[in-house]
Symmetry: C3
Subunit: 273 residues, 3 copies
């Protein structure tokens, strides 16, 4: 059980997702686009991957949240992202930004900072290396992945949260979520999630779905993180060896669809720092 | 057993697909493109996803059918779709059109109507909401999904079939396929298919493969629908809980590859309206 | 056991991949892009799918190998491929080229020949039909697949290897890898690998990872081929029917992550021709 005072409500957010079935508009990378759609469905929400610059402005208004993941971004997608972010900001539809690859590729940092500066981004979510690099700190990544141990990450989260007036979620061995002066630590999950592609992206679209059904975006994001973490734990417990990565991946969808509010309460490992 | 008079032939179409291994050229969305390829292979046909405007005209002639799915369409894909449809029409290669997202996005409706008007489309396949919206009726969708109960859908199917001189397949709780004055109802499948992404797209490419090996396109499409439906039923029966969505998805490919003509006859639930 | 004199080292290459965790930069098709990422992770390497022309030149220097697969190429990707190949050649980062669809589409042949002529390609890997067509021989393919029995393929491999001063891997019932005057035959694998999409692409990115950690590129490529083949054999042995294609696919990732150097030695079926 956690010491987070509002922990007793975590399960309610999952119930809300299931009841309201929020439509999440995703402009996301093509490596894990199918995983993102399926995890959203398994959680009880509705994914819609609409990414052409001719369409996004018309599509955003239908959505309860906009998930932007720049993992395989190109020039066209960049235009779509700006158009979608503009429209979502105007309509006060929450935006979650996932700065995949920002450590290695300078232009992606610029894009993300630009989005944070000019649009109303509810949450920026990255691994420790991505978050640090956006804050102008030295860090170490490998391709799209983080090799950063997360030292000082709490301070970096706070800095970034204040600078851009947004929630910051940094993922690593533990996940820290910061909004203003509050930082919450989530200790669910398993390193196995890092051995398959798409676990970070699935987390990103999940928290978008959770934000989409709630006015308390901090608690909603925590409920999303805890959900993904518990599902990873349950999937790991169900396989016969930690090398069963293919089976592990299948089980993630099984356990997400089977997740209950009670399980969320029972296994959630959340504490306020 | 069904009352459809030609039901006894349904299994033959599967046998034909396995014998002739038709090449299906797909220009399809990137969310479920892998599922589409794998279901086609499992059914015994050959998928080829070729989508650049520089290549499609040269590639179409190799195919036995062209499957067009606009789920993640962009400006370039639109050009490719026109070029491919033009070439396929000229060569009398059957075309199946899947109007994903047409309910929410006006320009997709226009594109689909344009294809139906100007090219020789063998079958237009959509959920109830998509089919109704193409017929200019009021309907209700959510993102890419249908919230339409299918009231009046038989009449709408007939209207659309007559207007564009094409087969119309509307999917929902039951599936209706209309060609001219004939409407056939297929009652196979399971609601679980709606809880994973790609089941509609897989159905679309499957019926393309079936149309590709037959001169009787109505019966061929029915055989394709029944195949997908039965595979869904078998996959559902094989999992231990209806929340096992990941496992369900894996089993779909297992059962599609294992499907026999006998099973198709035995479990097909088809009736002429 | 094999008669290949250096067979005793095959397992060492897998150990190296696991130790060095090489970053493989892939510009690859969108049908199997997720499979490619997951097999790379399961093998112990790091995939990075970066494909926009604005980014590839900056990204290549981080990589230990560049994998180019033209399965769903378009005009933009073509530009990216040239830029990436140019940069990789200059930095002596090994390049593996996978000429998917070259049999059916003339412009793809031209692209691949151009890459082989102007850049330093370490290995060209294709099915028998693709390799023969690049050598200007008559062959027979179906869409992206080969219908070529592989007659004369050893001679063709040698010709192509000499002409472009590169390694040539032709895949089929058995796989032949030729470098200069040496040709090695690998007899691992199972026809089931041909019944799912992505097995060829996964092999392509795998050998890129193996090349990325070694100076002996011939042995490294052989170790990669043997790895994929054994994993296919083990996955087949683990399923209850050869029609269990969905389960087979899941098991490939399980067995790749569980593969050991010892298993590689024990089951590798390699001989010098």
């Amino acid at each position: 059980m956690s010491s987070f005072k509002s922990n007793f409500k975590l399960g309610d957010y999952l119930t809300l997702v299931r009841q309201e079935n929020p439509l999440v508009h995703a402009i996301t990378n093509h490596v894990t686009i199918n995983d993102c759609a399926n995890i959203t469905l398994a959680a009880g929400a509705s994914p819609a991957m609409c990414e052409s610059k001719e369409e996004v402005s018309d599509f955003v208004p239908f959505a309860k949240a906009l998930y932007i993941n720049i993992g395989t971004i190109n020039k066209e997608h960049k235009k779509s992202i700006y158009l979608a972010a503009e429209k979502a900001s105007r309509l006060e539809i929450p935006i979650v930004v996932d700065p995949v690859g920002a450590v290695a590729i300078k232009s992606r940092q610029d894009l993300v900072k630009d989005l944070l500066t000019n649009y109303s981004v509810s949450c920026i979510k990255g691994n420790n290396a991505e978050i640090k690099c956006l804050a102008g700190r030295r860090t170490h990544g490998k391709g799209m992945d983080s090799l950063d141990t997360g030292k000082d990450i709490q301070m970096v989260n706070s800095e970034l949260s204040e600078k851009y007036n947004t929630m910051v979620l940094s993922t690593g061995k533990t996940d820290l979520i910061t909004k203003g002066s509050t930082t919450v630590k989530v200790s669910n999950g398993t390193p196995l999630l890092g051995r398959i592609t798409g676990s970070g992206c699935m987390l990103g679209i999940l928290i978008s779905a959770f934000i989409g059904v709630s006015d308390n975006d901090l608690e909603a994001v925590i409920a999303g993180i805890v959900s993904m973490g518990i599902v990873g734990e349950l999937a790991e417990e169900s396989i016969s060896s930690t090398t069963d990565l293919g089976s592990f991946r299948v089980k993630i969808f099984d356990y997400m669809a089977a997740l209950t509010s009670e399980k969320l309460q029972e296994r959630g490992n959340v504490s306020v720092l």
